[in-house]
């Protein structure tokens, strides 16, 4: 698309609104996360809840990148979602910002690799892979994944890849399809 287009204040408002809206929808999933963690704890798989939910948390990024096709929007969408989460009842507070930056860069990287030219399944597959790898690397530190057994790491990685593909890939594609059928993106 047009790479020279600049971000205007209404794009920034939209990106922030999407982040907050998604945050408001995810508030309902907090109990799913906690229930999953509690259920998986007896099997020694407690961190897997993290990986299974990851797709939901990184959805804002690829969607923003698809909706507003300007370099940097995927990063901003993801990052602003974390800013919103920080101020309005997110349980991790300012640490969310760091995760937001990591997730944002990871998603943006997927669009950078395709040079902001292609917006199709290939792009979504690449963003899924970059997001999974980078966020997993960050969890190696943050959530102590580095101390887990190798076998567990493989399970967690696959869980995260699938989750990210379903929510950050399939879901984004469906929502984007609905939006373009509604002709709300053309005017932007």
């Amino acid at each position: 698309m047009n790479q020279k287009r600049k971000l205007h204040v209404r794009d920034i408002i939209l990106l922030a609104l999407i982040g907050i809206l998604f945050g408001a929808i995810f508030i309902g999933t907090d109990f799913v996360y906690n229930a999953l963690t509690a259920m998986l704890t007896p099997f020694g798989l407690a961190p897997m809840a993290n990986d299974l939910m990851m797709g939901l948390w990184v959805m804002a990024g690829p969607l923003a990148g698809f909706m507003i096709r300007i370099p940097g929007t995927a990063f901003l969408g993801e990052f602003l979602a974390s800013v919103g989460e920080m101020f309005f009842g997110g349980q991790w507070g300012a640490a969310t910002l760091i995760s937001g930056v990591v997730q944002g860069i990871a998603t943006e990287l997927g669009f950078t690799i395709t040079r902001y030219r292609y917006y199709n399944w290939i792009t979504l597959t690449i963003t899924t892979i970059t997001t999974t790898i980078l966020t997993f690397g960050w969890d190696m530190l943050r959530n102590g994944y580095a101390k887990f057994d190798f076998q567990l790491l493989i399970i967690l990685f696959v869980a995260r890849l699938i989750s990210t593909f379903i929510f950050g890939g399939v879901f984004v594609k469906i929502i984007n399809g609905l939006l373009s059928r509604a002709h709300v993106l053309a005017t932007r």
Partner: protein
């Protein structure tokens, strides 16, 4: 304390404890944050909530390392357990004591963040109560037609985005009609300054945090 400096301090501290498995350092972060929260007269209920919320993930992580990993490493497990709390308390000592407006002013004036970012995001964040209401409305409207929209329904996101597109147009229009011009110098009625005291606190607290970390490296 200056919001930007406070945020920087918390981000640096959070990053640093992410790279180390250090129980005393985590406890120190928790202690300083709780003291700061008490100084700002936090409610007992809020504090109790901060203790309860991370307990399931923190305990899950603890058991995974201590009971299920091959090394049964108690030191790592307890460091990870307390680290979760350090994140939560450090984060709360920022987000519970700082207003979004103050942060936006500070980032714009002290960090030279372009005003379109500072005010654009602020405009969006001020819509939060309406956003929550809108999600409820969308769900109820669907329920009336016998459709159940939940967080796994793409249609819920689609409808929410339609609303967001409308609002972003309206908000941008409203800002422009109030005289907001992108990329133009602005004057501020409320000046946010970085005081010497802010820097002293930041550097001082960061030095204190290094003590347990350096101690661990030395031994």
């Amino acid at each position: 304390m200056n919001p930007t400096i406070k945020l920087a301090l918390i981000l640096i501290a959070s990053l640093e404890i992410s790279f180390t498995y250090n129980l005393p350092a985590n406890l120190l972060v928790i202690l300083i944050s709780v003291t700061y929260l008490f100084y700002h007269r936090i409610h007992g209920k809020t504090l109790a909530w901060l203790v309860i919320v991370p307990i399931i993930p923190a305990f899950g992580l603890f058991t995974t390392i201590y009971f299920f990993s091959s090394q049964h490493d108690l030191a790592t497990a307890s460091a990870l357990f307390t680290r979760m709390y350090a994140y939560v308390f450090a984060g709360a000592s920022f987000s519970l004591t700082t207003k979004p407006l103050d942060l936006a002013h500070s980032l714009e004036q002290n960090c030279h963040l372009p005003s379109k970012f500072a005010y654009g995001t602020l405009a969006a964040f001020n819509m939060l109560p309406k956003i929550k209401q809108t999600i409820v409305t969308i769900k109820s409207a669907a329920a009336m037609r016998g459709v159940n929209l939940s967080w796994w329904s793409p249609h819920l996101y689609f409808k929410a985005i339609l609303v967001a597109i409308n609002w972003s147009e309206n908000l941008a229009m409203a800002m422009i009609s109030h005289g907001f011009v992108e990329d133009q110098p602005r004057s501020a009625y409320e000046l946010v300054q970085v005081k010497a005291r802010d820097i002293t606190w930041m550097v001082g607290l960061l030095i204190v945090l290094q003590v347990p970390i350096v101690w661990q490296i030395m031994n």
